[in-house]
């Protein structure tokens, strides 16, 4: 279902294509041996090649090529056995060579599709146009000196993958789902860390609007949007801006715009930027990149189970809902954690505990699953205690809180605190009798037809047993006694 926006003249459809730049996880740069570690001293990770000293030549990093192949396979796209590196020529101080080595008409990865999951439970396919490898530029620093600009070349030459989508995206929700899904896949593959705040993943968003069924409108490109939230906000803003212009009788200018997260608006970049003629041509310093079927197949065999496959397996194998499965597979460590918890246990119960309790408290405390004080084994142990009636679900919440605090396993906590569930019907019966005796009015009311009071009796019994009474046994006994 396309998401439509109401304007004064009727409804408008938003059409979005995205170009995502993802820094490749690799020890060294695309064409040099310099390190790629984030956060080093300025210009401490610059080789002669990165600084474009006279006579220096690029040598392709084979590991990066493998990462690109892996990514191509992971986004269900064609891996091209023949691809060509080309030079994109322009002058800028953070571009030492005066050209960026990129891929132009013959990229390493061609067409494909990825599936995005929407909030209403539907799945939509977004076409991938291509993915290519290219060098990152350095960074200009304008705040270090009153009159001069400085250049940090640490990032110069780092490998980027540019993943280009078809204009299949129809609004901010889909855009957010697309970039989230892409990030998830790259993280599963281990080809990009997806840290948008460190700039290792950023998006250029191409946006246009049209009346449903009409021809594509003129698009504006928003550059370097660096969070999922910013992607959504910038689209919201841009769609409104374009509709207002069009409805006011104006025309959309094809241009590059900048997202300003502080002012919550997109702004036109200087038009000089667009006057660029990049004069692409094949880089004569590099041979065309030739891949063999064997090489591609060898890498295919190393692919991990990808998010979509995992999601469907969780649904089939563990009987989870699509929603629960998507929450669990959102991050690979989370999915691994869940699988450990659920191993040989009640998988649905395990899913509830991981999603509602564990993720809840971790989120609240701004922690990752990797930081969880409760190990997957221990949470699994607790699920076991619930399933074999050692503790009730209610007691389990206390046990869980204690586990989170101390990191201890559920068994010892139950032992230490004497939280073991009372399943002895004799003991429970005594408490039931006591409760009924103490509340004659309510008993009479219940018997007179106030069915809802049943919960009250259960509550009283549980309270008296300090939560340790087995709820099933309590229910059973109460039913008998009140009938």
């Amino acid at each position: 279902m396309a998401q439509l926006t109401k304007g004064k003249t009727g409804e408008w459809e938003t059409v979005i294509g995205m170009e995502v730049h993802a820094q490749v996880i690799a020890e060294s740069k695309l064409f040099s041996g310099a390190s790629t570690k984030f956060g080093a001293e300025p210009n401490s990770q610059v080789s002669l090649v990165d600084a474009a000293m006279p006579g220096m030549l690029p040598v392709l990093n084979e590991h990066v090529v493998e990462q690109a192949i892996k990514t191509g396979l992971g986004i269900n796209s064609q891996v091209n056995k023949h691809s060509v590196f080309a030079r994109k020529n322009y002058f800028y101080p953070d571009l030492p060579q005066g050209y960026q080595i990129s891929q132009f008409d013959q990229p390493i990865v061609g067409e494909g599709t990825i599936e995005i999951d929407l909030k209403d439970g539907t799945v939509k396919e977004i076409g991938i146009t291509r993915m290519h490898l290219e060098q990152d530029a350095g960074k200009s620093l304008h705040d270090q000196h009153p009159t001069k600009s400085y250049v940090d070349l640490n990032r110069s030459g780092c490998a980027l993958m540019e993943i280009v989508s078809e204009p299949d995206i129809r609004g901010p929700e889909e855009a957010a789902a697309y970039i989230s899904k892409l990030r998830m896949i790259l993280r599963y593959l281990g080809t990009c860390d997806g840290n948008m705040d460190e700039g290792s993943m950023r998006a250029d968003v191409n946006i246009s609007v049209r009346k449903p069924g009409a021809e594509l409108g003129t698009r504006a490109e928003i550059k370097n949007v660096n969070s999922v939230k910013a992607v959504q906000q910038s689209i919201d803003f841009e769609v409104q801006r374009q509709i207002e212009i069009l409805e006011g009788g104006g025309e959309i200018k094809q241009e590059t715009r900048l997202w300003d997260p502080d002012k919550n608006e997109t702004r036109s970049m200087r038009s000089k930027e667009e006057a660029h003629d990049y004069r692409y041509f094949p880089d004569p310093d590099l041979l065309p990149l030739e891949l063999s079927d064997e090489q591609i197949e060898r890498i295919r065999k190393t692919l991990p189970e990808l998010p979509d496959e995992k999601k469907h397996r969780f649904m089939d194998e563990f009987g989870l809902s699509a929603y629960d499965a998507s929450v669990l597979i959102a991050e690979r460590p989370r999915a691994d954690y869940y699988e450990t918890v659920a191993k040989d246990r009640d998988a649905k119960l395990a899913a509830n505990w991981v999603i509602n309790e564990l993720l809840g408290i971790l989120n609240k405390n701004d922690q990752d699953i990797a930081d969880s004080p409760i190990s997957a084994e221990n949470l699994g142990g607790m699920i076991g205690l619930i399933s074999d009636n050692t503790i009730s679900g209610k007691i389990a919440k206390d046990v869980f809180a204690e586990m989170y605090k101390s990191g201890k396993d559920a068994g010892s906590i139950v032992e230490e605190k004497g939280l073991k569930q009372v399943t002895d019907t004799g003991a429970i019966e005594a408490i039931v009798d006591e409760v009924l005796a103490e509340n004659p009015d309510n008993v009479a009311a219940y018997k007179g037809g106030k069915d809802k009071l049943f919960g009250f009796f259960v509550g009283q019994v549980m309270k008296k047993s300090q939560g340790k009474a087995n709820p099933a046994a309590v229910n059973e006994l109460l039913k008998q006694k009140l009938s």
Partner: protein
Amino acid sequence: MSDLTHMSIAGALKGLESKDFTAVELAQAHIDAVEAAKDLNAFVTETPEIALKQAAESDKRRADSKAGALDGIPLAIKDLFCTEGVQTTASSHILEGFVPQYESTVTANLFREGAVMLGKASLDEFAMGSGNTHSYFGNVINPWKGEDGKPLVPGGSSGGSAAIVAARAAMGATGTDTGGSIRQPASFCGITGVKPTYGRCSRWGVIAFASSLDQPGVLARSTEDCALLLQSMAGHDPKDSTSAQKDVPDFAAAITGDIKGFKIGIPKEYRMDGMPDEIEKLWQQGVEWIKDAGADIVDISLPHTKYALATYYIIAPAEASSNLARYDGVRYGLREEGEDLRAMYEKTRAAGFGDEVKRRIMIGTYVLSAGYYDAYYIKAQKVRRLISEDFTKAFEQCDALLTPTAPSAAFAIGENEDDPIKMYLNDVFTVPASLAGLPGMSVPAGLNADGLPLGLQVIGRPWDEETVFKVGGVLEEKAAFTALPQSVIRKAA
């Protein structure tokens, strides 16, 4: 002492080994010769201290029986090769004062074998030219003179290298050849020059002109000397993705004098309208020598030859326009301050590059521009493939080709300056082999009526420098070229 400067490399190596003289004496003799040849303006930077230091170390190695293949041999290094700690300029103002912190692979290979560096030889700025008239440091003068005594160009772009070897002030020199920049100056200066197959020598540390064409090579006074130098320079380099993973054959061993049964092709398209008679005659003489030696002459056709120069003057400037973008005043070399970034770029590049370099950057930028790319660059690439296929077909019929090296002898300085196209025509016989990446050699074969040297070119199959050396060796033997430049004769007298 002057005898030392007239020796061959092979002879000098024998003399050093049998202790007839020391490497220091050999170096000193050449330092003196460089001094005496100063009027040729062949060097951008002279390095006599380095030469003497290297020579002393060489003598020590030889005393310890650890001498390398070229130990003690004094060479000139074209100032396009980056040399660690020694200014490297590409004869451009924009790189004046630039001192690399690294050594090019080719010079590192030469020094590993004990070669001694006399200095950095001048060239056409960024190797763009055929007369060595486009150097920021002034034109180089050919040691040869015609009847009228006017100063002549040494050819280019490796003009400093060729002039200094011809003047007996270096035993050999490195060069680079993009469209004829080794072979044409070798022909103009009466010496031997070899451009090996593209990919035979590493381009790492060689300042780039046109990456798909640039190839390091050698200039010396005999085929054997060229073979010895090339032997040490060549070989796979993992730092250059276009350098070939191929074993380097024994080039000198290929010079046997025996070409019986070989088929040597004569491309009819190289017989051009307006070609001087003396060139035609020399070529015919070469054919006779080949026949005398027992090889067969085969008439072959390279039908796309007439498009070669036009193709070259699209591809080479296109690559150059991009390769030279790094000279922007930001990190090294010349910077002319401006009110903003753009002004700094414009002023730096306006002041730093000479006219010919600017001309080629503009041509290259034009042919790569939107709307012109298909018509020029793409078309040129297609024609380049056709030219390459011409050679492939020709080599089905023959083992090597024989052609003149250049359409004329050395011309007077200033003569072709008014017309860049006329200057470009100098490379008409050398450019096709460059476009096809083939090995080529120029051998001095005779003098024209004005007493100036003329060269013959041998072109071989890819990776078959051995046949080129073999055929070149026969031409050398038959031509028995012993003439000396006037300046050398004058000094000897």
